[in-house]
């Protein structure tokens, strides 16, 4: 296993990174904006994507790597579908509980005061058995509306997913960039540490952490979850970033920065890291569903989100106990979660194809 190869991902074979420093997103070369035609002589037209016609140096619509990638992403219908669904579910999760509260006054943890209503109702059923719009997903054993709970679960799961991924991004990118740039002994040591950590049963230790330090309040437990989940997924991110940095650090712009006297931390974080953004974005988009799955799994076992907050995992835990008699209590949270993860995975795959067009499908 060549440790210096650009990526050590199990899925992608070794090859050059697709994003080159030519026209980096950070320092774009001089080029025309859309709809802005500049007539210049051929020698002055610079930048990639510029079209030089034979007679005049007519510069037509310029483009950048990101815009190309975006266009490729839009052409990929599956990824588009994924993106749309994710956006819809995010909007639903963000404003859903609020709208439900405005329309019907039901909050996710509202237990009805009427004793006859404290039982599980199938979807779209009123207490007397007739059709009713009140509970589109039914209720749980204590009469709480399941739709509101599923949407709140979406809020919590998405929030945990995004924040934990951000944390693992910050830790992983810093670690990988420093290890890759400094190289030599430090790199060896840091990556050896990553290797050892990689082969440990992380989740087991996280479970011990969460069960020992179980907080009283639901919010406290959430913060503990962020820390725990963020510290699971930074390892692969560090490896990816290190691989990218290794191939970038011999480029000329780094030499130029060093020659100009830029300090090392500044080189790492202001010059090199922005050029690793492509694979980082792809991997981050693929980490979010992994983290959400971990959070759901921890909540299912009882170590994650505590009641009264609902997460898809804890909803599934309650629902799976009643699967024989009230199957909707598991099906709705479970299938919503499945749909979200499905779309996120498609979006991640689409991003990977868009930002790394060397893969021929």
């Amino acid at each position: 296993m060549n440790k210096d190869s650009p990526d050590n991902l199990p899925e992608t074979p070794n090859r050059e990174p697709a994003i080159t420093p030519l026209g980096t997103p950070h320092e774009p070369p001089i080029r025309a904006r859309e709809g802005n035609i500049i007539h210049t002589s051929p020698e002055l037209a610079v930048g990639e994507g510029d079209v030089r016609s034979a007679e005049l140096g007519e510069v037509v619509e310029g483009t950048s790597l990101w815009r190309d990638a975006w266009r490729r992403l839009l052409k990929n219908r599956l990824a588009l579908f994924g993106m749309v669904v994710v956006i819809l579910i995010t909007i639903g999760a963000l404003i859903g509980p609020f709208i439900i509260k405005q329309l019907t006054g039901i909050t996710p943890d509202f237990i009805p005061s009427d004793a006859a209503l404290i039982k599980a109702f199938p979807p779209f059923t009123a207490p007397d058995g007739s059709f009713s719009w009140k509970h589109p997903m039914g209720t749980d054993n204590q009469g709480r509306d399941l739709l509101a709970r599923v949407l709140q679960g979406g809020q919590i799961s998405l929030m945990v997913g995004i924040i934990a991924t951000l944390m693992s991004l910050i830790i992983g990118v810093s670690y990988g960039a420093v290890a890759g740039y400094l190289g030599g002994r430090i790199d060896n040591l840091l990556m050896r540490l990553v290797d050892v950590l990689y082969s440990l049963p992380y989740i087991i230790i996280v479970i011990v952490l969460l069960s020992m330090f179980k907080k009283e309040t639901a919010q406290g437990q959430l913060i503990l979850l962020f820390i725990a989940l963020g510290s699971i997924s930074w390892l692969t991110m560090a490896r990816i970033v290190r691989g990218q940095v290794l191939s970038l650090k011999n480029q000329e712009f780094v030499l130029a920065a060093r020659a100009t006297g830029v300090s090392t931390p500044r080189i790492i974080f202001r010059h090199i890291v922005p050029n690793t953004l492509g694979p980082v974005i792809v991997y981050a988009t693929l980490t979010i569903p992994t983290v959400m799955l971990s959070e759901a799994f921890l909540s299912f076992l009882g170590f994650g989100v505590q009641p009264p907050l609902a997460s898809w995992g804890s909803l599934a835990a309650v629902g799976s106990q009643n699967i024989a008699i009230y199957p909707w209590q598991l099906l709705f949270p479970g299938l919503t979660m499945g749909l979200t993860l499905f779309s996120l995975n498609f979006l991640g795959d689409g991003l990977r194809d868009a930002l790394d067009p060397q893969i021929q499908r």
Binding site: P201, I205, P289, A316, I323, L330, G334, G338
Partner: protein, 307 residues
């Protein structure tokens, strides 16, 4: 190669000790005690309990005793949740169950996943390809704690084909649903990896040579292409085993199997320190050894790799 193995084995021992120490530290750092229940114990009883479990000594002394017991006799102590049973006995009893389910699940995943991936790679962008990859996507997206109850709902409660839960022995029908639930996500990943790997390999020159020589397509695939195309799958085995562990935990909870994962969760919920440390150490050792085996297999399969 031998030096590599010995170096890895040597690193294993301090790693395990560090893992045990961290776990011990976490359990000790946490507020409260294992014997704190709903009522407050009278001071005399509390003093007796603390004396019996050695909690009245300083923490250095307790740490030394724990580590010494482990290093000297591999004795992890007696469980606090299951009084009278030594941790080693509990692990020995529950390990075969977890190992069986895990291994069967992984074999199932390899078989079905590699087949699906190969079919998808041989006919790219066809119905087979989209169908396989669609099923693979579903496998990745639906969590195993959702899939499990749904399978139980369909196959046990509606069709009455399979028993819903409990452990009846190694050769019973009870293992079918847990194994399928556990295997689903790995089948999906392995299918995707096989497809990607095979697609890469099928474009390379030596495959073209094999076809030009006049070999039949199945000979080309099975004798030449699969060897290279399966490399990503082999290197996935390492992380897969780690995730298999966590998957086993959930599956054992759902299907109520007396395996290692179930005991671990109960130990965590009850702050059963010896059992927690025992299971964590055991799992860490198994994982490190398996990763070493995977690396050796990797070197064996790809002659370009030298350690």
């Amino acid at each position: 190669m031998l030096r590599f193995i010995i170096k890895r084995l040597l690193i294993t021992i301090p790693t395990i000790l560090i893992v045990i120490s961290i776990t011990w530290g976490l359990v000790r750092l946490a507020p409260g005690n294992f014997y704190t229940g709903e009522k407050k114990l009278p001071p005399a009883i509390e003093k007796n309990i603390r004396e019996k479990y050695g909690l009245d000594k300083s923490w250095q002394e307790q740490y030394r005793r724990t580590i010494w017991g482990i290093v000297r006799h591999l004795d992890f102590g007696t469980s606090l949740t299951y009084p009278g049973q030594s941790v080693n006995a509990i692990i020995a009893r529950s390990l075969p169950i977890s190992a069986t389910i895990g291994l069967l699940a992984y074999l199932f995943a390899l078989l079905i996943g590699i087949s699906m991936g190969t079919i998808a790679a041989l006919k790219p962008n066809s119905r087979w390809d989209y169908a396989s990859m669609g099923i693979a996507m579903l496998g990745i997206s639906i969590p195993n704690f959702v899939l499990g109850p749904i399978l139980v709902l369909i196959f046990s409660l509606t069709l009455y084909w399979l028993p819903p839960s409990r452990w009846e022995g190694f050769a019973s029908k009870n293992i079918i649903l847990p194994v399928i639930t556990l295997a689903a996500i790995y089948t999906a990943y392995i299918a995707r990896l096989t497809r990607a790997g095979l697609l890469e390999v099928l474009r390379s020159d030596y495959i073209r040579t094999a076809r030009a020589k006049g070999l039949s397509e199945s000979q080309v695939v099975f004798r030449h292409a699969l060897r290279g195309g399966l490399m990503p799958v082999v290197s996935y085995t390492g992380p897969a085993l780690a995730f298999l562990l966590t998957g086993t935990v959930v599956v054992e909870r759902i299907f109520i199997l007396p395996g290692l994962g179930n005991y671990f969760i109960n130990a965590s919920l009850n702050r059963d320190e010896p059992l927690i440390i025992g299971i964590v150490a055991f799992v860490a050792i198994v994982l490190l050894l398996m990763n070493l085996l995977v690396d050796i297999a990797y070197a064996y399969l790809d002659p370009r790799i030298r350690y």
